[in-house]
């Protein structure tokens, strides 16, 4: 039995990490983790909603 971690599985924005338990030549359990905080929701609060799309678009 082995546990492996693949980090980063790269993405354009943020990062993806996969941890997997391997037993008998196959994956028996897996965990998906985004290792970067986004926080755009916090930035948009209190601003003009007519500009929300311009910020949300960057996700």
């Amino acid at each position: 039995m082995a546990k492996i971690a693949i980090d980063p599985i790269t993405r354009i924005e943020g990062h993806l990490r996969i941890e997997a338990q391997i037993d008998g030549g196959q994956v028996t359990d897996a965990w998906s983790s985004s290792t970067m905080f986004r926080g755009l929701e916090i930035i948009m609060k209190g601003r003009d909603p007519r500009g929300s799309w311009l910020m949300a678009q960057r996700i």
């Binding site: 492996i4 926080g39 949300a56």
Partner: protein, 497 residues
């Protein structure tokens, strides 16, 4: 955009609807082709094996599956020579750091060479067809001409800077070029590659629950790709979508809710309070019994859902969308498999190609819709009735659903005193890459990986196949080096027990 328009009760003009469909439609086509060739194909295509290919036999193979003109023995010999130059120089360039020679690669050398040739052609093609975004959106990525109430690109046959006859003609050329590549290169390659990997119709299925908000509204509000939900792989029933049933958990996410870790919140009441409890880097493994990710866990009526092209194609297929049904059945027939094969890694990858074909053929008809509007003298692109905040209610809330290329994307907004009081985005990767929820149910990636065969745990190519099949916006290799050439990617081990 749609969330704020929904909150303020704004109907966009017909021209804005068409222009948005065109921008998003070409984005689907470009994104899906890039995903297939540049982000996903090398999970199936062994680049170094292409060096053993016979150029004449490769041409014969290519000509047997497609009329694509660029299929001569000389062309494939040129590609092979170029590749050999890379390899002999010790610099694989874009093909560096793959798991070349891995036993899970099954394509013959000729199929590998054909795919490598099209990988390179797709690079040229994609930069051309996305010029539509420069024309309609002023730039790519992140088009700039959206506007609450419509679009900020004008239509004026007499203006060089507006949408005019010249620009229509250029877009028409680019849309024809887009469709040709999809029909004559992408789809035939997809079928050819898939035919060697039919065992992957048995892996990577995962949740079996699918959510699609639907996309590409027509003039009467009907959707080209319908909205709906499929549960437990049951294609006999398409359930309606009620956005009130969507909530998010943070039980295993690095956030806290005022109501505690077991609570789930609808996005209108959503909270974004970071609470990192994970290990300090460098670390070997995360504490997966506790919180282990920056993504929340979205659920529909408490269920984890998969989103993306497969969800859209299944909902459309089960809803009886005639064109989707035709293309899906044709692909299944050519691969010699039944609809159950769709619930898999292979099905997810095939669904993306099917969708690309369905959307690519709509681009010219949509452009003709715009031409007809112009011919009628209808140049309106924006509805400014509710632009002035003085006319807004003191409080309003809205929901903006759309289908991004990668899947169902929802924005929820609360407006108070002309400002955003709360804004929550539940994006496709939040659904698919979701962690466990309060009751321990895994997300789509997590569920889909269970049962995946692993030939060599130190080269987990098979994990990449399934994760990449979701298109989480990833680069094509797990090994990434930084500017100093240090290896950033680790495959970590906990010893055999």
């Amino acid at each position: 955009m749609r969330a704020v328009e929904d909150a303020l009760g704004i109907q966009i003009p017909n021209n804005a609807r068409i222009i948005r469909n065109l921008i998003e439609g070409i984005q689907y086509v470009q994104d899906h082709v890039i995903h297939f060739y540049h982000l996903h194909a090398l999970d199936w295509v062994d680049v170094t094996s292409a060096l053993d290919a016979d150029a004449a036999a490769t041409a014969q193979l290519a000509q047997s599956i497609s009329d694509w003109p660029n299929s001569s023995p000389a062309h494939f010999q040129t590609v092979k020579d170029k590749l050999a130059t890379f390899v002999n120089s010790g610099q694989l360039g874009p093909f560096a750091n793959g798991y070349w020679g891995h036993p899970a690669y099954k394509l013959p050398p000729e199929a590998n060479l054909m795919a490598v040739a099209h990988y390179l052609e797709a690079l040229d093609w994609q930069k051309d067809v996305i010029r539509v975004h420069a024309i309609l959106g002023s730039k790519n990525p992140h088009p700039q001409t959206y506007l609450v109430g419509g679009m900020a690109i004008t239509i004026d046959p007499d203006s060089e800077s507006a949408i005019n006859a010249d620009k229509i003609a250029l877009m028409r050329k680019l849309f024809v070029k887009a469709k040709q590549f999809v029909d004559q290169v992408y789809v035939p390659d997809l079928l050819a590659v898939a035919s060697f990997y039919k065992d992957w119709a048995g892996y990577g299925g995962g949740l079996g629950n699918f959510l699609a908000y639907g996309e590409f509204p027509g003039a009467t509000g009907d959707l080209l790709l319908p909205r709906g939900i499929i549960l437990d792989q049951d294609l006999s029933t398409v359930h309606p979508v009620d956005q009130e049933q969507i909530t998010e958990y943070v039980t295993h996410s690095w956030y806290q809710y005022e109501g505690g870790d077991q609570a789930s919140l609808h996005p209108w009441q959503g909270e974004t309070q970071p609470n990192y409890t994970g290990p300090q880097p460098p670390y070997e493994f995360l504490e997966t019994d506790g919180k282990y990710t920056w993504l929340k866990a979205p659920r529909y009526e408490g269920r984890p859902m998969e989103v993306g092209p497969l969800a859209r194609m299944l909902v459309a297929y089960a809803s009886g969308q005639p064109r989707v049904k035709q293309v899906v059945d044709s692909v299944l027939q050519q691969l010699g498999v039944g609809p159950e094969a769709l619930f898999s890694t292979l099905g997810r990858t095939a669904a993306r190609g099917i969708e690309t074909a369905v959307v690519a053929e709509q681009l010219v008809p949509w452009l003709d819709e715009l031409v007809a509007q112009m011919a009628d003298g209808n140049f309106t692109v924006v509805n400014t009735d509710h632009w002035d905040p003085a006319g807004w209610p003191a409080e309003a809330k809205g929901w903006g659903p759309m289908e991004a290329p990668r899947g169902a994307l929802g924005h929820w907004v609360q407006i108070k005193d002309e400002k955003v009081a709360n804004y929550q985005c539940v994006v496709p990767s939040t659904w698919n890459a979701s962690p466990r929820d309060a009751s321990g149910q895994p997300g789509a990636y997590e569920a889909s990986l269970v049962g995946t065969p692993i030939a060599d745990p130190e080269q987990p190519l098979e994990i990449l196949r399934t994760i990449h099949s979701f298109d989480p916006c990833m680069a094509c290799a797990v090994h990434v080096v930084d500017g100093q050439g240090r290896e950033l990617t680790r495959v970590e081990w906990e010893g055999r027990m």
